[in-house]
């Protein structure tokens, strides 16, 4: 039984009860000559009270039941089931509640159309922008094949490599932009669940180390507590991966990116530290915005990796921040709420 229901019920019922009492007091004790005619007894009053109670219950249920149904429908939409509509029976009533139900459905239809449109647009943009890039890559492959037979000048080969690299950059940027938009719109996140964060961090660190070794850097895990979190595993993986790869890109040659994971009872603290040039103090917040890069001419990424990480952490109710280490290098810290014990 809900609070609104109880309040109205008690209020209505007590009013009814009071009216009955006054009526009884007047009739039974003032004696207007009705007494013999009406013959009210305590027994009758009790019956009246119970009948009144049932009456009140039905009237109020008539009012609050549709509210509950609307509430359930709204909750269902909030959880992403956009096709949810209210019970058609609600709309057949001819009162304020049926107006509300009809407007609710109109709203739901609009949200569904907007989100479907957004999803569609994302797919189309991805497809339309990538199709020319795909053709370009294959054409480039064909050119390389022909030139390889004739023997290619070194400069021509370098220029071809350059074209391939720029095509790859364009593609990566499109991919990241889409990933960012996808996180924001809440579509295609996969199913949420409990998962082992320690394992995830370990996997990302291993892959990162593999990538870093190729350019004489490394990734080490300095400390790892056991941590379990709730959320979208792939989304958090991309967050941590982006932070780690950013650190690998900036750490100086011959140094290691250091990762630590602490379980501080209610939240976990993931810390990724590099030994690079760090970030100017006034840019520490901005680096989590799309396309903000530090103007030192060496940045290779599209400037979207940390933005993706930031949004993905937001989705999980966590926080992300960057700071310069006193001894030099950048530290990125991610706080995430720890999963409660499974019930």
């Amino acid at each position: 039984m809900r609070r609104l229901f109880l309040t109205i019920f008690l209020w209505f019922w007590l009013t009814l009860f009071g009216v009955a009492m006054i009526f009884a007091a007047v009739v039974l004790h003032a004696g207007f000559g009705f007494r013999s005619f009406v013959r009210l007894s305590i027994h009758d009053l009790l019956l009246f009270t119970i009948a009144g109670g049932i009456f009140c219950f039905l009237v109020i249920r008539f009012l609050t039941k549709p509210l509950n149904q609307l509430g359930e429908a709204a909750a269902s939409i909030a959880e992403g089931r956009l096709e949810t509509r209210v019970d058609p029976a609600l709309k057949n009533r001819r009162d304020e509640i049926s107006d509300l139900a009809r407007n609710f459905d109109r709203m739901a239809e609009r949200i569904e159309a907007l989100v479907t449109g957004q999803r569609r647009l994302l797919g189309d943009v991805s497809h339309e922008l990538r199709s020319p890039l795909s053709r370009l890559s294959v054409a480039l492959g064909l050119v390389k094949l022909s030139l390889a037979k004739q023997g290619m000048e070194r400069e021509a080969a370098e220029n071809l490599e350059r074209i391939a690299l720029e095509a790859l950059r364009l593609d990566t940027m499109i991919g990241q932009l889409l990933a960012l938009t996808r996180i924001d719109s809440g579509v295609d996140r996969g199913t949420p669940g409990r998962f082992d964060l320690t394992n995830l961090v370990q996997e990302v660190a291993n892959d990162g180390n593999f990538e870093a070794r190729a350019c004489n850097r490394s990734v080490v895990i300095e400390h790892a507590d056991a941590c379990t979190v709730n959320g979208y595993e792939e989304l958090l993986r991309s967050a941590i991966e982006n932070v780690a790869r950013n650190a690998i890109r900036h750490t100086a040659e011959g140094t290691a990116v250091e990762i630590s994971l602490q379980n501080n009872v209610s939240k976990t603290l993931l810390r990724v530290r590099d030994h690079g040039p760090g970030v100017p103090e006034n840019m520490l917040l901005e680096i989590f915005l799309p396309f903000r890069r530090i103007a030192n001419g060496t940045a290779e990424g599209a400037g979207l990796g940390l933005a993706i990480a930031g949004r993905a952490v937001d989705v999980h109710g966590g926080t992300i921040r960057a700071m310069n280490a006193p001894a030099g290098g950048l530290i990125v810290e991610i706080d995430l709420p720890v999963a409660s014990e499974p019930s």
């Binding site: 189309d124 990538r130 053709r135 889409l178 996969g190 394992n199 990538e211 991309s238």
Partner: protein, 232 residues
């Protein structure tokens, strides 16, 4: 000459791909949409199907499902780069491998060759492997669990064989990618992990309820067993 079916709505791209593959000695047939793709795939005798899952008017996954219902021809999926969701879904539905689009055609040829090598009728590396409730037949490439047939894709079969041959000891992810998928390990590529997930799902837990394929943190995977696999 190998014959490859290309299911992709982009006619110009297919022309270029056809030209490139022809130089590598691979013949291609083009299907411009999903319906034609399924028809060709089931009617023709192709050694491999290249399927774009991002066609605007057809759901590529629906095409994949319909092909997989009747045919085990290897499928190479073309996905958008960075779209892990599509990639995992495709591999779960029985695609053999994936290639992010746009791709380097040389890489495409390498993947096609790797898949063809795997699925070619070759002299089996082993006649049979049996361990507890699982039996692998290297000749027919079939798997039975407690006597009942389990339907595995070619990759899943090779992966299971690779793990069972050294049951009880860990195989690194790098080795699995190299020997099972037939390509160099590249970091942040989780396809081998998705294939392991599929195997776990299809085979279920051990008879005593324990985990069949264990992930060894930072090292790789191992097929849990106290006994040694019986190799014939």
């Amino acid at each position: 000459m190998e014959r490859v079916l290309v299911v992709d709505d982009d006619a110009e791209l297919c022309q270029l791909v056809t030209r490139f593959l022809a130089r590598e000695g691979i013949a291609t047939t083009w299907a411009p949409n999903g319906t034609a793709g399924v028809e060709h795939a089931l009617a023709g005798d192709y050694s491999l199907i290249m399927l774009d899952v991002m066609m605007p008017d057809t759901d590529g996954f629906d095409v994949l499902r319909r092909i997989r219902q009747q045919s085990r021809t290897p499928v190479l999926m073309l996905t958008a780069r960075g779209d892990t969701h599509d990639r995992i879904r495709g591999l779960e539905m029985g695609a053999d491998d994936y290639l992010p689009k746009p791709f380097d055609p040389a890489e495409l040829v390498a993947r096609i060759r790797a898949i063809l090598r795997r699925s070619a009728p070759q002299r089996p590396a082993f006649a049979a492997i049996s361990l507890a409730d699982i039996e692998l037949d290297g000749g027919t490439r079939s798997v039975r669990r407690s006597g009942a047939a389990v339907d595995l894709t070619t990759v899943e079969f090779d992966l299971l064989a690779a793990l069972m041959r050294v049951a009880g000891s860990t195989v690194s992810r790098e080795d699995l990618v190299r020997n099972v998928l037939g390509r160099e390990f590249s970091p942040f590529d989780r396809s081998i992990d998705t294939h392991v997930c599929n195997l776990r799902r299809k085979l279920g837990p051990l008879e005593d309820g324990g985990e069949r394929i264990k992930g060894v943190r930072g090292a790789g995977y191992l097929y849990a067993s106290r006994a040694k696999a019986e190799l014939k």
